[in-house]
C-alpha cells in the first residue's frame, strides 16, 4: 500500500546568531544551516496495517508523514501511496488519504461542523448516498451528533479531535495518517478515539499510520512499529518482537522481614553467577526488595527459589519491562548498545 524508498529531506535555513549584535550580524551573513530532518528512510506498509511511528521530538516523524501526504517534497528518494506519487499527483493522492494533525485542525475555524462537512462533501465529490452512509457510521463511532452544529472554534479539544477524525474519514480513504491523535486528551476520550480507529480499521481495512508520544496508543492499536531517531529509521518490526529483543529485563519484587539483611544477601554467590548479572534495591517503607536482571542470564524461578531458601518471603511480584521504558532506553542510547 505504501512504499517509502530511500527518502531524505533536508532543510536549509539562514544561520542564527546569539544576542542583539548577533541579530545584526545575521542580517549580513549568508551562512546557511543544513539539517537532515529525514535521512535515507525506507519501509513498506501493507494494506490494513496499523503502524505506529515513534521517535522523540524533532526526530523526523512529522516530516516523514508530511512527505507521504504530499505536503513536503522529498529532497531525495520517493514515496508511493497506493501506487501514486503524492508529489506528482497531489490531487489524486489526496482523494486516497485522510489526515489528522493533533496539534492543528484542518477544519474551518468559524464554521459549524455540519457546514465543514457539506464543503468537504463537495471537495471530495462524495455522492449523496455514500455521504449519508458515512455520516451514519461516523456518528456511531465518534458521536458527532453531540456537537454537529457547533462552530469548530467552540469545540473542546476532545470534540475537535473527533470532528477532525470524522472529517478525515468522510471520503472513506484507504490510508489514514494520524499525527499525535490523542495529544492532550483525557483518558476516556483517548479510549474512544482508539476504539474508533480500531473499528474503522476492521470494518474498512483502512491502513493507518500514526505518530504518537503515547505508548498506550501503540500498545492498544499497533501491530507494527517504526522507530525513528535523528532522521534515521532505527527499528522496524512488531511490538512483540521489540519486547522480546529489548524487553528482557525482569524485576522481581519480594516482601521480606528484614530489608537490610535481604538487600545485602550474596545472591550471586548462591547462584554461582557474577555480581553484575543482577541488581538489588531495598524499599524500607514497603519492607520489600526488588531484584532486576536479564531473563536470558538468570531465570525468574531460579532467583525466587534461591531467595526463598534463605529467607521468608511474604509476597512476590514479577514485572516485565514496560514498553515506555524500552522506548526511552532506545531514544537515550540508540540501538547500538543492545545489538
Amino acid at each position: 500500500m505504501i512504499k517509502v524508498e530511500h527518502v531524505s529531506k533536508e532543510f536549509v535555513s539562514a544561520k542564527k546568531y546569539q544576542g542583539l549584535s548577533g541579530a545584526l550580524k545575521g542580517l549580513f551573513s549568508r551562512e546557511k544551516v543544513h539539517k537532515m530532518a529525514v535521512d535515507d528512510i525506507s519501509f513498506h506498509i501493507k494494506k490494513g496495517e496499523i503502524v505506529g511511528y515513534i521517535g522523540s521530538n524533532g526526530a523526523g516523524k512529522s516530516t516523514t508523514i508530511k512527505m507521504m501526504t504530499g505536503i513536503l517534497t522529498p529532497t531525495k528518494g520517493k514515496c508511493l501511496v497506493n501506487g501514486i506519487d503524492p508529489n506528482k499527483q497531489r490531487k489524486k493522492n489526496a482523494q486516497n488519504i485522510g489526515v489528522v494533525f493533533g496539534q492543528r485542525t484542518q477544519l474551518w475555524w468559524d464554521l459549524p461542523l455540519s457546514e465543514s462537512f457539506t464543503i468537504l462533501k463537495e471537495i471530495y465529490d462524495i455522492s449523496d448516498e455514500a455521504y449519508r452512509e458515512r455520516i451514519a457510521f461516523l456518528n456511531r463511532v465518534l458521536s458527532l451528533d453531540d456537537f454537529f452544529t457547533t462552530p469548530v472554534r467552540n469545540l473542546s479539544l476532545g470534540q475537535r479531535m473527533r470532528a477532525d477524525l470524522g472529517a478525515a474519514l468522510l471520503h472513506n480513504p484507504p490510508v489514514l495518517y494520524l499525527d499525535e491523535p490523542t495529544i492532550g486528551l483525557d483518558l476516556v476520550v483517548k479510549d474512544n478515539i482508539r476504539e474508533a480507529i480500531k473499528e474503522i480499521n476492521e470494518k474498512y481495512d483502512t491502513t493507518v499510520i500514526l505518530t504518537t508520544h503515547d505508548i498506550g496508543d501503540i500498545e492498544e492499536l499497533c501491530s507494527r512499529i517504526l522507530i525513528i531517531d535523528k532522521g534515521q529509521l532505527i527499528y522496524d518490526g512488531s511490538l512483540a518482537e521489540l519486547k522480546e529483543t529489548y524487553g528482557t529485563r525482569r524485576r522481581v519484587t519480594m516482601e521480606v522481614k528484614d530489608t537490610k539483611e535481604a538487600a545485602a544477601m550474596p545472591l550471586g554467590q548462591w547462584l554461582g553467577k557474577p555480581e553484575d548479572a543482577y541488581d538489588i534495591e531495598a524499599d524500607e517503607e514497603n519492607s520489600s526488595i526488588a531484584v532486576s536482571f536479564d531473563k536470558n542470564q538468570l531465570q525468574v524461578s531460579e532467583v525466587i527459589g534461591c531467595v526463598m531458601q534463605h529467607m521468608e518471603v511474604r509476597d512476590i511480584q514479577i514485572k516485565e519491562t514496560e514498553l515506555a521504558e524500552i522506548v526511552k532506553e532506545i531514544y537515550n542510547h540508540g540501538m547500538a548498545k543492545e545489538a
Binding site: 524533532g58 516530516t63 508530511k66 513536503l72 517534497t73 474551518w108 464543503i119 463537495e122 471537495i123
Partner: protein, 267 residues
Amino acid sequence: MRTVKRYLRLYRVFLAQFFKSLVQSKADFFLGLVGFFLTQATGIAFLYLVFRQIPMLQGWTLDQLIFIYGFAQIPRGIDHLFTDNIWIVAYRLVVSGQFDRYMLRPMNIFLQVIFERLQPDALGELIVGIILVVASLTKGIVLVDAVRIVLFFVSILAGALIYTAVKLFFASLSFWIKRSGPVLQTAYELANFAKYPTEIYARFVRFIITYVIPFAFVAYLPASYFVKKEVNPVSTIGVECLIAVVFFAIAYLVFHRGTKRYESAGN
C-alpha cells in the same frame, strides 16, 4: 467541463457561508464599509485641497482626476472582494504551517485559497468607485459609445486580474522567505500612486509602475481612454489585457513552484 461544474458548485457552497457570516456580523461589515469610505474620501479631499491652489494638474482637470480615481477603485474592489485570502497566505498561513490543509485536499490549491474567504469590506471601494464614475458620467466628462462601454467592463476585469496577479506573486514569495506580507503590502501600496497621471513621474518610476508592477495599466492608462478622444484603445486597454494574462500566468507559475518547495512548519 465536469471539473468546472464541480468548482462552481463548490463556490456556491462557500458563497452561502459568506452570506451567512455577513448577516451575523452586520456591525463589523458596516464599520469596514465606513473605513473604506473614509479612506477614499480623504483621497478625494486631497485632490480638492490641491486644486484650491492650482487650476490644472499637467493638463488634467479636477473632474478628470476624480474620474480616474473612482475608476481605479473598481478593479481594486473586485480583486479585494474575491481574493483577499491571498494576504493571509503571505502573512500567516505559510509561516505557521497552516497552509498544510490546502495541500491535503483534492482540489486546486489556488482556488481553495480564494474560495475560502470573501471580503465584504471591499464593497466600500466598489461603492465609492461606482459613485465617482456615475457622478463623472452626469458631469458629461466621460466619453460614451458602444466600444467604450464594452471595453469599460473588459478593462475592469483585466485590472482586477492584474491586482490578483501582483498579490499572488508576492504572496508566493513566502514559500521562499517564509513571510512575504510586508513585501506584498509595499507592492500593493504602489497602486495608490498609479491613480495619478503617470507623466508626473520621472522615467524610472514610470517604468516601474508600467512594466515591473504594472498598476498604471489598472487605473490611469485605461481611464484616460474614457476621457480623452485621442487615446488609442489598443495601447491602453489592449496592453492591459495582455499584461493581465501574462502577469497572472507568471504569478500562478511562481505560486505553483512555491507549493512544491513548501516547507510546512515545526522544523
